[in-house]
Amino acid sequence: MTDHFAWLLVWGTLVGLDLASVAQVMIARPFVAGTVAGILLGDPLAGGTVGMVLELFALDVLPVGVARYPDYGIGAVAAAATAAGSPGALGTGIAVCVGLVVAYVGELGIHVLREANTRDVRRHRAELDGGHLHAVRVLHLRGLLRDVVRSMTVSLIGLALAVAVYQWPLVTRAGAVLVTLVLIGASIGAAVSGVLQAVGRSAVLRWFGLGIVLGTIFVVVIQ
């Protein structure tokens, strides 16, 4: 992983910026971020697998307005860095643990960033209310730079955690498999409860139920 550290740091930073500040083309979705990180590490399957687990967790979240949302994208990059090279179920669970912790750190970072932006805007209230373009430019650029720093810092923390977990494994092989099973189950539960929370008892619930039934039939019968 250390051979690809610089590329992963760049990718993590881009992913963090995409979450809200830049374009939102959704490279920040954990499934995308994890798969690309896996490709950078030469193990796209490991990256895609941890990305898919974190994607199910992310379905619980709507990135709306001032809502606080975890940064699952950078979490997926760190998780892919942890899982790459590990055989199947042994690496997935521990890697997803790393991803969840990093996603939470990213969430805290977003809150800190927005508080800093708010203080900056309050300090320059007079210039803004006077319509000064220079103040608008400076505040906007500073906000962007803060998010670059946040994304890079969270990525660094995530990659450092990945290196630490890789070098000092926390659990035995059986324990690693147990963690994987629990987190796959938890991610499915998070996705289902997130959608149920979002649709409530509206007519959309029927479409979700139909999808679950058809998907389950597909898995049980056809696969």
Partner: protein, 240 residues
């Protein structure tokens, strides 16, 4: 580069200076500026002052407000009319964007991406998701800015257009159906290679997570449940 293209590019960064006081107000001011440059100096200063005030909208539809507000600034409408238009756009642009994108296009694209990822390869799934999602995303961004700039104060007509109304009706069901299909297929793919009793264990953990979130501790879901489940599993795994 035409001012409208400049504004379109700037709308990609409209949330970069998000603050709790003015939300995307500063970003909106930065984005609208190329369309205000040719105003007389006094009018320009007043328009920029108005542009920096509180504003919020779905980021993909912010261009509609930016275009409409730039148009009415050029029409030299009274200040209170411009301020009222700005305030009136906040709620519908947020609501329509959330329903179309966060509750429709996003889960629908994620669902299809996960299904392709499970049935073909993760890379194919990721590419499918990015293409599907961004086709809708960039179409909406471009349409929104153009509609705002052309319609000015009558921009609300664009939000009640037949295409948008149909999109709003279809978005929720499409997103829910795609995610509903994707969850068991992705779950089945993730648990591939495990014995049947292990797969049943995975299903039991999922059922526990849903039961906790729905009936016992509604705030204990998503990341929180994941972190606690991970800690418990790590502890048991470490003791094992």
């Amino acid at each position: 580069m035409s001012p409208l293209v400049g504004v379109w590019l700037r709308t990609l960064l409209v949330q970069a200076s998000f603050s709790f006081d003015r939300m995307i107000g500063v970003g909106t001011a930065w984005a609208i500026q190329p369309l205000l440059r040719d105003l007389p100096p006094d009018r320009y200063r007043q328009a920029m002052c108005r542009a920096t005030q509180f504003f919020n909208a779905h980021p993909y539809l912010a261009g509609m407000a930016i275009g409409a507000l730039a148009r009415v600034e050029h029409q030299e409408l009274p200040e209170d009319t411009i301020v009222r238009l700005r305030q009136a756009l906040v709620s519908p642009l947020g609501s329509v964007g959330d329903k179309l994108i966060w509750a429709g296009l996003m889960p629908a694209s994620v669902g299809v991406g996960l299904i392709v990822g499970a049935l073909a390869s993760p890379l194919a799934g990721a590419i499918t998701f990015l293409v599907l999602y961004n086709t809708g995303h960039f179409t909406l961004r471009t349409w929104a800015l153009r509609e705002g700039w052309h319609n000015g104060r009558d921009v609300s007509r664009s939000l009640t257009a037949r295409g948008i109304q149909r999109g709003l009706r279809l978005a929720g069901p499409a997103g829910a159906l795609a995610v509903g299909l994707a969850i068991p297929i992705a779950g089945g793919w993730l648990a591939r290679g495990f014995a049947l009793q292990t797969k049943v264990s995975v299903a039991l953990v999922a059922a526990l997570a849903v039961a906790l979130a729905q009936w016992i501790l509604p705030s204990f879901r998503g990341l929180r449940f994941g972190v606690v489940a991970a800690l418990v599993a790590l502890l048991v795994g470490w003791l094992w």
